[in-house]
Amino acid sequence: MTAALAPAPAAGAVVARGRRARTRRRRTVLVVLVLAVLAVAVLALCVGERSSSPAEVLRVLLGEQVPGASFNVGVLRAPRVLTGILVGVAFGMGGVVFQTMLRNPLASPDIIGVSAGSSAAAVVAITLFGLSGAALSVVAVVAGLAVAAAIYALSWRSGVQGARLVLIGIAVGAMLDSVIGYALTRAGVYDANEALRWLTGSLNSAFWPGVGPLAAALAVLLPVLLVLARRLPALQLGDDAAAGLGVSPDRSRLGLLLVAVAVIAVATAATGPIAFVAFLSGPIAHRLMRGTGALLVPAALVGALLVLSADLVGQHLLVHRFPVGVVTGVLGAPYLLWLLARTNRSGGSL
């Protein structure tokens, strides 16, 4: 074999052609996802006890007073839809960062217990201290970050390895589950129900006052996450290869872990940990993109789509009115098991 090192006539043409084809595919998928999110959002604004037409919805959004529709759409449904999109984006992006960083599609923060701190703290706050609203959110965010930092610190032994982080996360998660169980037995049945509803994830408490802080927090955190995530492609190749490319695995992982957990904790504080959205968005986005590049944005869109559609189903299509988390949980569980089987068989990663 001879090494033909002289650049070919049109240097890079072959590579550029393939790359452009993949970029085109990526753009198409992204546009379709955005349209789908918009379509479901409009549908969610229209449908309700008293449904409105898209035209009415548009007039309300433009600030007109429409008798009947203004309250239903402007006060009840719009904040719900916005919150749904925001938390969907947050769960989707935070989840896929974990899955990519730990090179395992199962290692999403809701499975490995990294976000269990928020849930446990919130349940204790609801049942034992009767907190709600902003105070509850603050407790959930702080506890989420503290527990994630503790898991990271416990996994440290001259560097943090992904497998150890996953296992310790599972252990801490199991411990926090028993704290949740304890809190539930000590609560009155009304509080227990409230706590369980929160644990499942629900958009029922999404009103305008909550949207502002949520949007502001994510407006700060998501760009940071996107910037840090530029190290993910290197990190994906293994710690040694990442270091060879000039990316320090431990420092990158700590940064990504903290910001991703912060994103997830903020969303969790707003709606509770909506089951499986963080877990499902990444693999779905991966299948849609077929290896055509970074998964953060597509996973965020998939997350928003999942939350909005599951909420629609939970509100209107079932005999009971179920919170969104029940729908994502029940729909997600079989997919989870299937993915588990597939991943184990092929040993694949995102």
Partner: protein, 351 residues
């Protein structure tokens, strides 16, 4: 080729084991038995009301029910017996699970077995209107068996078989999946939630002699099966291929041992609710003085498991007097740090 006739096999090595190892094992087992006795006394004596030693003896042997101290002891007998049985079952069940899967992190709660039982109990309460513990036992048992088979099947797919990481993730994921089924039921039926949330934390406080009688046959069969495949598990420890080479029928051992583990763990979960980390931690502690031989590991795990579960139950009764903290919570809070220590000690490459 038979196992004992082959030089260099574990059995042959054990035949010539040094006296110090035998002494360590004997002393260790004896210490565990003493610990069990102490735990039993503590379990009978402590609680909302602390009882003196003489009343403990009297309360067990010929209770004078008009004496409130002896009546308290009497009421704790069933609970203590249940603690012994459940602790021993979890200890042995955990050791069998770890032996069969060659996996240091196998534990009924972490492997999703408890969550299978939970879902089954919830469905039983909702669909069949079950309300007594004796009825739960059967549902929980069926759920535990199904879930454990599912988790092991999923976790062992792929070339490397059931690695600790894969099994732990399969367990966590299955727990999450089954858990969302549980929430769906509970959110639509407040009455079910009110019954279920107390079952959901593992506790010995609901014990009665009727249940003891009911679960005893299951545990006995499980224990016999477990002991029966002790030698086989020693061979499996060296890898399936080596075990086959040593003339062991690996498939049969897996099936028998798996049945034993499900019988032991499933029954324990069914009667006491999910109690985590006991099945995980006990075999590790026991192994420190028995070494890897399952013929010593299983009885020592049984004794140690019984002693520690009772001790945890006593702690739960004492620290929050006059209230109680359920034993499942105590074991989780005490066990998780041990689990983390085990992970930190192992080389991750081996996981």
């Amino acid at each position: 080729m038979t196992l004992t006739a082959t030089p260099g096999t574990p059995a042959a090595t054990l035949g010539g084991r040094p006296a110090s190892l035998r002494r360590r094992r004997t002393v260790g087992l004896a210490a565990c038995v003493v610990a069990v006795l102490l735990a039993v006394v503590a379990s009978l004596a402590f609680g909302a009301r602390v009882v003196g030693p003489s009343d403990v003896v009297a309360g067990v042997l010929h209770p004078d029910t008009s004496d409130i101290a002896q009546a308290a002891v009497r009421s704790r007998v069933a609970r203590t017996l249940l603690g012994l049985l459940v602790g021993a079952a979890l200890g042995v069940g955990g050791a069998v699970l770890q032996g069969l899967t060659r996996n240091p992190l196998a534990d009924p709660a972490l492997l999703g077995i408890s969550s299978g039982a939970s879902l089954a109990v919830v469905l039983g309460i909702m669909l069949l209107g079950l309300s007594t513990l004796t009825q739960y036992v059967w549902m929980a048992f069926a759920g535990a068996a199904l879930a454990s088979v599912l988790v092991y099947a999923i976790g062992s797919l792929g070339r490397e078989g059931a690695t600790p990481l894969k099994l732990a993730l399969a367990g966590a994921a299955t727990t999450a999946a089954l858990g969302s089924g549980v929430s769906m039921v509970l959110l639509s039926r407040t009455d079910v939630l009110d019954t279920f949330r107390f079952w959901q934390v593992g506790s010995l406080g609901r014990a009665s002699f009727a249940e003891l009688g009911q679960v005893l046959p299951f545990l006995a069969v499980g224990a016999v099966l477990a002991v029966g495949c002790a030698r086989g598990m020693d061979a499996i420890a060296l890898g399936d291929d080596v075990a086959v080479g040593l003339g062991q029928r690996v498939g049969v051992i897996r099936a028998v041992g798996g049945t034993a583990a499900v019988l032991l763990c499933g029954t324990a979960v069914a009667v006491a609710g999910p109690i985590g980390f006991v099945g995980l931690v006990i075999p590790h502690l026991a192994r420190t003085f028995t070494g890897p031989s399952h013929r010593w590991l299983l009885p020592t795990s049984a004794a140690l498991g019984a002693a520690l579960l009772l001790a945890a139950d006593v702690i739960g009764r004492v620290v929050a007097r006059p209230q109680e903290i359920e034993v499942g919570i105590v074991t989780a809070l005490l066990g998780a740090p041990v689990f983390i220590a085990i992970i930190r000690r192992h080389k991750v490459a081996a996981l």
